[in-house]
């Protein structure tokens, strides 16, 4: 990992970070993935309506840092049967854009396509991801990840891996 001097992140550094995050998720490297998050993390996969308030409407995932930890602990038991055996995953991240800043966070948008293979068959997942990245102690960290699935208004198959 290359150290980052300032909050002035350039696109190349951002892309490298996003690809790394994607690789950790694809390869079920839970420890490395967890270490990317800030303490005030928010990992959100809306259901149905992107504009809905996640505190008054249900989401597929709406994890704070604590719940991310619980989710990963459950996966590490090896008895999270919906991920035991784990899905075979590969995703492509593209159309990466720096959308702006929010305080010290850089807001980044990207599209993704992910292929999941399990015994029950192949699933294609796709959507828009919004990231908020922050430089902490010279390293890029992930403060926010919102995954807006293209089919979030439709019935979804089990989503027990890290998306």
């Amino acid at each position: 990992m290359t150290a980052v001097a300032d909050a002035g992140l350039d696109l190349r550094q951002i892309e490298q970070f996003l690809y790394r995050e994607a690789r950790y998720a694809d390869e079920h490297d839970y420890d490395a993935w967890e270490a990317l998050w800030t303490d005030d993390a928010l990992y959100w996969v809306p259901a149905g309506d992107d504009a809905a308030d996640p505190r008054s409407q249900v989401s597929v995932i709406y994890d704070n840092r604590n719940r991310i930890a619980t989710r990963l602990k459950q996966l590490r038991t090896g008895k999270r049967y919906s991920q035991s055996p784990p899905s075979n995953l590969r995703r492509v991240i593209s159309n990466v854009e720096i959308l702006g800043t929010e305080g010290s966070d850089t807001v980044v948008g990207a599209n993704f396509v992910l292929v999941e293979s399990r015994t029950r068959g192949m699933e294609i997942w796709a959507g828009r991801v919004t990231y908020k990245l922050r430089v902490v102690d010279g390293e890029i960290r992930l403060a926010y990840k919102k995954v807006s699935l293209v089919n979030k208004d439709q019935p979804l198959p089990t989503l027990a891996f890290l998306i």
Binding site: A47, S56, Q57, V60, T70, T77, P155, P157, T158
Partner: protein, 427 residues
């Protein structure tokens, strides 16, 4: 290996012999895998008996509508100007196009996009363009079809495609008391289901889900991973030593009655995993609303009841099972919202997101089991699925209902007994 084989008759011959397929101690695998049996279920269960459709709080205002379903049937639940709730079949009376494409909204009429026919939100035909082609206005009596019987119990709306049959009250029987118990947890005595829905596609026969909902034998195993990392006390409710019971409520309904465990502890709000000092406003409002009764309500908590064939109230969540084919269904789930209890409602949404839906730390694993179970049931031998656990220790309670221990298959036996009655009914 067992030599008794019950096979489903070939097409063109008699109907399946449900008495052979459903036995007191076991049920035949073909019940989960045979498309002909699924077709008969649609006709005899889903398009005949009372099926849960939606909640009145989803259409609070006149003109409100929301898309719903009974199995594969696409319905629109509407509220008319007089406040009455209707279930319209989403199909134009002209050329069968889908009339309503939006998930929800507010409108007193619907216009079919194909040829512009319009219908009032009670299904009545309002008009058709270029009316001379039909000899003028008001010449046709072609409304959208409606589900003939619609009844509501404490805001829970049920529909039946049969013109007549048992009333909703008769169908619910002892299960109505469990809906009452849920409503009683609101200081205003009302539940709302207005927190949106998670839709979870499940490649399994719907009955595997219905049976699992009050199966107290699986939680320790399927959910051991989350119980162990969170130190959840839920596991203990379904242990061998638990004083909770499984009850056959009749008409295919069943419950895990957790009250004996909660009474044993005697701690208000334990059922919700909290204490009164963490939710002081709620507890105060409950004591004000219910007086001396409040303590018991706050100790005993919420019901865990499966209402045949598709409504599952799991304490703080509501599930609706929608079968699509013999091996596919959708689980719709949401958080219970108690009217007048904002403090609890926020927590219920957060807990529900953690537990249920496609990524839920409980339901993703249940669903994995349903899907593996479906694959297993398609294997040829030994043909049968067991439902005998706890038969020897079942008793009949003071209401005349069959009761087993927390981990017994009493609920499944009740389910199958009612299923058999419906499938063999010659009416």
């Amino acid at each position: 290996m067992d030599c008794v084989t019950a096979t489903v008759p070939q097409a063109g011959t008699d109907r399946p012999d449900y008495s052979a397929l459903i036995q007191p101690e076991r049920v035949h695998g073909s019940l989960y895998t045979d498309p002909r049996i699924f077709a008969e279920e649609l006709e005899r269960i889903w398009y005949r008996t009372w099926v849960y459709v939606g909640h009145e709080s989803e259409v609070p205002q006149p003109g409100d509508y929301v898309r719903k379903n009974i199995g594969p049937q696409d319905l629109v639940m509407t509220r008319d100007r007089e406040g009455q709730v209707h279930l319209l079949v989403n199909r134009c009376a002209h050329r069968a196009n889908l009339v309503c494409e939006d998930e929800r909204g507010n409108s007193n009429s619907f216009r079919c996009p194909y040829h512009g026919w319009t219908f009032r939100n009670n299904g009545e035909l309002l008009g058709y363009p270029y009316h001379q082609g039909y000899g003028g206005r008001g010449k046709l009596n072609l409304g959208m079809a409606t589900v003939p019987r619609v009844e509501s119990y404490r805001g829970f709306v049920f529909g039946s495609f049969a013109e007549d049959g048992p009333t909703l009250t008769e169908h619910l029987g002892a299960a109505a008391g469990e809906i009452d118990r849920l409503c009683r947890l609101s200081p205003e005595g009302e539940v709302e289901l207005n927190a949106g829905w998670l839709k979870h596609r499940t490649r399994a026969n719907w009955k595997l889900l219905a049976e699992n909902e009050t199966d107290g034998y699986h939680p320790q195993f399927v959910h051991g991973s989350i119980f162990s990392v969170t130190g959840s006390p839920i596991g203990a409710l379904y242990s061998e030593k638990s004083t909770a019971v499984t009850r056959d409520l009749g008409n295919g309904h069943s419950e895990n009655d957790l009250r004996p465990e909660f009474r044993r502890h005697g701690e208000p709000m334990r059922w919700f995993g909290t204490t009164p000092d963490r939710v002081p406003d709620y507890v105060a409002k409950m004591r004000q609303a219910y007086g001396d009764e409040a303590e018991q309500i706050l100790v005993e908590g919420a019901p865990h009841v499966m209402i045949f064939p598709n409504l599952f109230i799991a304490e703080i969540q509501v599930f609706v099972i929608q079968p699509l084919s013999v091996d596919e269904c959708v689980q719709h789930s949401t958080a219970v919202q108690l009217k007048g209890a904002p403090e609890l409602n926020r927590r219920m949404i957060s807990q529900s997101i953690g537990s249920v839906g496609p990524a839920g730390m409980l339901l993703a694993d249940d669903t994995e089991m349903y899907e593996r179970n479906q694959v297993g049931a398609e294997q040829l031998r030994p043909e049968w699925l067991e439902i005998r656990r706890g038969m020897h220790r079942e008793r009949v309670d003071e209401r005349g209902l069959r009761v087993g221990t927390a981990t017994d298959e009493t609920g499944m036996r009740g389910f199958w007994s009612h299923y058999k009655t419906l499938m063999e009914d010659d009416k």
